[in-house]
């Protein structure tokens, strides 16, 4: 007899169909990596990345690190999306063509010079996991795919096929699903990445790169501390959690702050037509070493007509919060909520379940208007 939980709601899909689906999912599974290849160089790298001290840790999609400025995750997820409502800005040529530059100062950026049919400016960002001085410009090509231009210090020897554009040597290499072209400019490396094959359009992009001062960017770059706005606050288990945000051209940096530090990410674009951001936009765990309980938090963005947010965590616990009205500062609202949960060494080792099951948004009449 089929267990009830396999046949609830409807007869389809049947357990046999579901099993077939799983069989298809794992049908093309690769062979496991040989054991001898595990625990060699890769292990050393992993050890190097581990914290050298045991202290409260904050992990999560956005709240991913307490170690300084961390900009990861959602950038990669969102930057390839062409912007529907955010301004498609172009940049006026500034200091001149990159081809003419022999070095770049720490306040200079590289963009596609205007007028540009090849790329529209979306946003820019300062900093990265490993290097706070990296300057990155994200844009959208005329075909809607993303282009990324990064200026930073030399990290490694450039490799790839060499091409000459305007008398300058670029190293072009294939990446996962796209291409990267890089060249050294004095003490810096400039790299340009795009999707698909490196073709004549991509080559044209390299020939149109310009150098501009930071003040000449269409919007202030994300990742600059001074422009953070506290957008939501929540108290749990004696700990005050604050959500802080920064916006440029419809793109956001969002940080979670507590007494021990902060973690966050940049590059998320919120279209108010969405009403509510994805349920896992901001998720994290604050788990003090040796403690038997941890604080799981979640946060997100909602449109201005959302008056209440209900957050259902993976353990079934539900929290209701009122997003902060930020009229005059931002067109959107933010929320943060948290629960205290049991925590063990095994949780620490396995990685902690920090998922949010569902986020429900209600308007001022307390009508459900969206879920995520």
């Amino acid at each position: 007899m089929t267990p009830r939980y396999l046949s609830s709601n409807d007869a389809t899909p049947t357990a046999v169909q579901m099993r077939q689906l799983v069989a298809d999912l794992i049908d093309e599974s690769p062979m496991p990596t040989p054991w001898d290849d595990i625990g060699t160089d890769a292990v050393s790298s992993a050890r190097d990345l581990q914290p050298h001290r045991r202290r409260p840790v904050l992990v999560g999609a956005i709240a991913a690190s307490m170690v300084g400025l961390l900009i990861v995750g959602l950038v990669a997820m969102n930057r390839s999306q062409p912007s529907d409502t955010a301004s498609q800005e172009t940049v006026s040529p500034g200091s001149g063509a990159l081809a003419d530059a022999d070095d770049l100062s720490s306040s200079e950026w590289v963009v596609i010079g205007a007028p540009s049919a090849e790329m529209s400016y979306q946003y820019s960002m300062v900093g990265s996991v490993l290097d706070g001085s990296r300057r990155t410009v994200y844009g959208s090509s005329n075909e809607g795919s993303g282009l990324t231009i990064v200026v930073g210090p030399h990290v490694e020897t450039l490799v790839g096929e060499t091409i000459i554009v305007d008398g300058r040597t670029w190293f072009v290499s294939d990446t996962d699903g796209g291409w990267t072209a890089a060249r050294e400019v004095g003490s810096t490396t400039v790299s340009v990445s795009g999707f698909g094959q490196f073709d004549t359009d991509a080559r044209t992009v390299l020939g149109k790169l310009s150098v501009v001062a930071q003040v000449d960017l269409p919007f202030a770059p994300l990742g600059v501390d001074s422009e953070l706005v506290d957008v939501a606050v929540y108290q749990v288990d004696g700990t005050v959690l604050t959500l802080a945000a920064q916006e440029a051209n419809g793109y956001y940096c969002i940080w979670t702050l507590d007494a021990d530090g902060r973690g966050g990410s940049c590059g998320y674009r919120f279209d108010p037509a969405e009403v509510v951001s994805p349920a896992d936009l901001v998720v994290g765990v604050n788990a003090p070493n040796g403690a038997s309980s941890a604080q799981v938090h979640a946060g997100g963005i909602v449109s201005a007509d959302v008056a209440r947010v209900e957050v259902e965590f993976a353990n079934g616990e539900t929290v209701s919060v009122n997003p902060t009205d930020l009229s005059g500062q931002l067109d959107t609202r933010f929320w943060i909520a948290a629960i205290a949960v049991p925590y063990s060494d095994e949780d620490s080792l396995a990685g902690f379940d920090r998922r949010v099951l569902e986020v429900r948004a209600y308007n001022s009449s307390d009508e459900l208007i969206a879920t995520a």
Binding site: Q17, V22, D24, P30, L349
Partner: protein, 161 residues
Amino acid sequence: MAQQLTLEEAYAKWGAELVGYASALSGPTDAADIVADTFTELLGRDVASWDRIGDHKAFLFRCILNRARMNGRSAGRRSAREHKATIAAQDRPPASGELRMSDPRVVDTVRSLSPLQRAVIYLTYWEDLDPERVAQVLGVSVGAVKKHLARARARLRKVLQ
């Protein structure tokens, strides 16, 4: 008391199964890396922590899920490429009631499922675990398991109708 497995023994015993599980969560491209990275990280931890774990297999399923979730954020482009390949490879319409990954509608639907939902499906339909055990393995509530299962089934049902 059951004999404790070393990490290497656990890998030899469950490695292939874990790669299959990772494939179900994230697709075949990253599956081996997800499993290898998980064991690499565990190798970097102290042995005593591993030895204290009661149910190593359940623990590893949970580790793989957590790593698959982290991995998922950067997999969008790859997924799109695999999707195109799947569409290109499709040479026949699915038979009535057939639920196969060669059907781009199914690919779309499965891709819309979260790693947790895929994990619930895998453990329920492939490992034949009941919701209580799935909840225990994944470290979530039984209610969450049932809810994810219901939602995943509801989405897949639409594909069949």
